[in-house]
């Protein structure tokens, strides 16, 4: 197995008006080719910050974040990012959004091929009927699928997804999870997914990184014992339930720790 990405004793702190805020502390783990890593932890603990170091938007204060053996110097098309806020371009139509990356000099393809790629993802994400609509006409779930299609179109080896399904209703969410599994099966990618749903983490990931209340440290790394391809039936298996209770307990502990941390802060304001 080739190592794709590596966190090496990574810490990050922000200078704020109220002093130094440690957000990530001494985090180390490897992500291998083909891994599906889910990161789970209480909200506000530093998950997005951790991911944005690998995406190239933040530098660690100490330690190293490596991609393909080299320190990450900035964002790049080999690391696709799906942002928590989607970030679909409102001034472009659905199809133009998907084509955006393919019109850039970093990954330019001939117009015919671009069209073919767009049509492929339009179909896959169920957006064909909306190809020439503007994002203002799309539902939350459709915007999310558009953001995914746009990221996929430039064929990144590595996908970083920040709570991609967090804002969707249960039904759409489960459809999106199954679609993601299907796409991974055919296109084989390495994924780092941030989520706050334990079920989602177990259902999708090959490894789960549970992080602590802020500053985010590694609480535990858990291997998920289900082989791919997976379908919803694994959620009925007893091992799924056991794993779920175990992880829920960990997450709940950290959630309480995070709450305890926030309370005095909100009083002092």
């Amino acid at each position: 197995m080739t190592k794709r990405a590596r966190f090496e004793n990574v810490s990050l702190s922000f200078e704020t008006p109220k002093g130094r805020l440690n957000v990530v502390e001494d985090v180390s783990y490897d992500i291998n080719d083909g891994d599906f890593i889910a990161v789970i932890g209480p909200s506000g603990c530093g998950k997005t910050t951790m991911m944005s170091m690998l995406a190239g938007f933040q530098r660690p204060t100490t330690g190293n974040v490596l991609f393909d053996g080299r320190p990450v110097a900035g964002p790049g098309p080999e690391r696709g990012v799906i942002f928590q806020e989607y970030g679909v371009f409102p001034w472009l139509t659905v199809k133009q959004n998907i084509a955006f990356g393919l019109t850039l000099s970093a990954n330019r393809v001939a117009a015919g091929e671009r069209d073919a790629i767009c049509d492929h993802y339009l179909g896959l994400m169920g957006l064909s009927d909306f190809a020439s609509s503007y994002p203002k006409h799309l539902s939350g779930g459709m915007r999310q699928r558009l953001a995914i299609a746009r990221a996929y179109a430039v064929k990144p080896q590595f996908l970083l997804m920040d709570e991609p399904f967090g804002a969707l209703d249960a039904q759409t969410r489960s459809n999106m999870q199954n679609l993601l599994l299907k796409v991974l099966e055919t296109e084989g990618k390495t994924v780092m997914l941030i989520t706050h749903s334990v079920e989602e983490a177990i259902y999708l990931a090959s490894r789960i990184v549970v992080v602590t209340a802020r500053p985010a440290r590694i609480r535990e790394i858990i291997d998920v014992p289900f082989a791919y391809p997976r379908d919803e039936s694994i959620q009925e298996r007893p091992e799924f339930g056991e794993l779920r209770s175990y992880i829920k307990q960990l997450v709940m502990d950290e959630y309480r720790a995070q709450q305890a941390q926030m309370r005095p802060a909100s009083f002092s304001e």
Binding site: P77, R79, V81, L104
Partner: protein, 256 residues
């Protein structure tokens, strides 16, 4: 025109009809001296007289041209300046107090100085209108640009966009709405400043016409001048709104 179009047009007409009725009512109510308020039909007659015999069209043309060039030059300068101020926070901290100082100065207060430095010809009026459009436009631009979220730029970076591509494909489309808003605001302010600028001993122009009429107490001419200024401003704003709606179909905002 289809049914809905007729309906909308009709609805838009009602307040105008109401205003004219109110005008007649005030005139005939007995509370005011009738000679101080020319009747709408008298003003309309005066309008045609001015149009056919006194070259009203020349005044309209001269004023519109002044506003047009004043706003065009003002916005041409306001777009890059406003953009830089909005984009680079330090530049804003540095320039903000100064811009607000100049914006707070009513252009009319500058007229004596403008006369001293630029004389009383066309350049002087252009300077005043430029001043008014620039400072109103620059504020709109920089406040708009400073609110552009970095999210879209980050997205473009993760897709492999270079600095130049980010500017061309992300920043420009996000700036266009603010340019259009700046243009609309500047047009409004420029028309408001027009009369003031034409007070600088203008020979022609709607402001000059009003000014001359007031020395001879020609109330009906003053009314014609005021209504013309309002109508032209309204037409320009409507045209600009059409263009905005065209260019910004992607926006959530409902543009009439």
């Amino acid at each position: 025109m289809n049914g809905a179009g007729v309906r909308r047009f009709g609805l838009g007409l009602i307040p105008w009809v109401g205003a004219i009725l109110l005008w007649y009512t005030v005139r005939w109510s007995g509370f005011v001296n009738v000679s101080l308020i020319p009747a709408p039909h008298q003003v309309a007659a005066k309008f045609f007289e001015l149009l056919t015999k006194e070259g009203l069209l020349v005044d309209i043309f001269v004023s519109t041209r002044r506003v047009f060039f004043g706003v065009a030059l003002g916005i041409l300068a306001a777009v890059p300046v406003g953009f830089l101020l909005g984009w680079y926070r330090p530049a804003r901290t540095f320039a903000d107090p100064m811009i607000n100082f100049f914006r707070a100065l009513p252009p009319i207060a500058l007229i004596p100085l403008v006369i001293v430095y630029f004389g009383v010809d066309e350049v002087a009026k252009l300077v005043i209108l430029f001043y008014a459009s620039f400072f109103s436009g620059v504020i709109v631009m920089y406040e708009g640009v400073s609110q552009i979220t970095p999210l879209y730029i980050r997205v473009a970076q993760t897709l492999g966009a270079s600095q130049a591509e980010i500017f061309r494909k992300v920043i420009i489309p996000l700036t266009v709405p603010h340019i259009l808003t700046a243009l609309r605001v500047a047009l409004g302010v420029a028309w408001a400043t027009l009369v003031a600028s034409e007070l600088i001993a203008a020979q022609r122009g709607l402001g000059a016409m009003i000014q001359n009429a007031s020395t001879y107490f020609l109330l009906d001419v003053i009314y014609v001048g005021i209504i013309c200024i309002g109508l032209i401003a309204l037409i320009m704003d409507m045209i600009l709104r059409r263009i905005t709606a065209r260019l910004l179909v992607w926006q959530d905002r409902v543009v009439a």
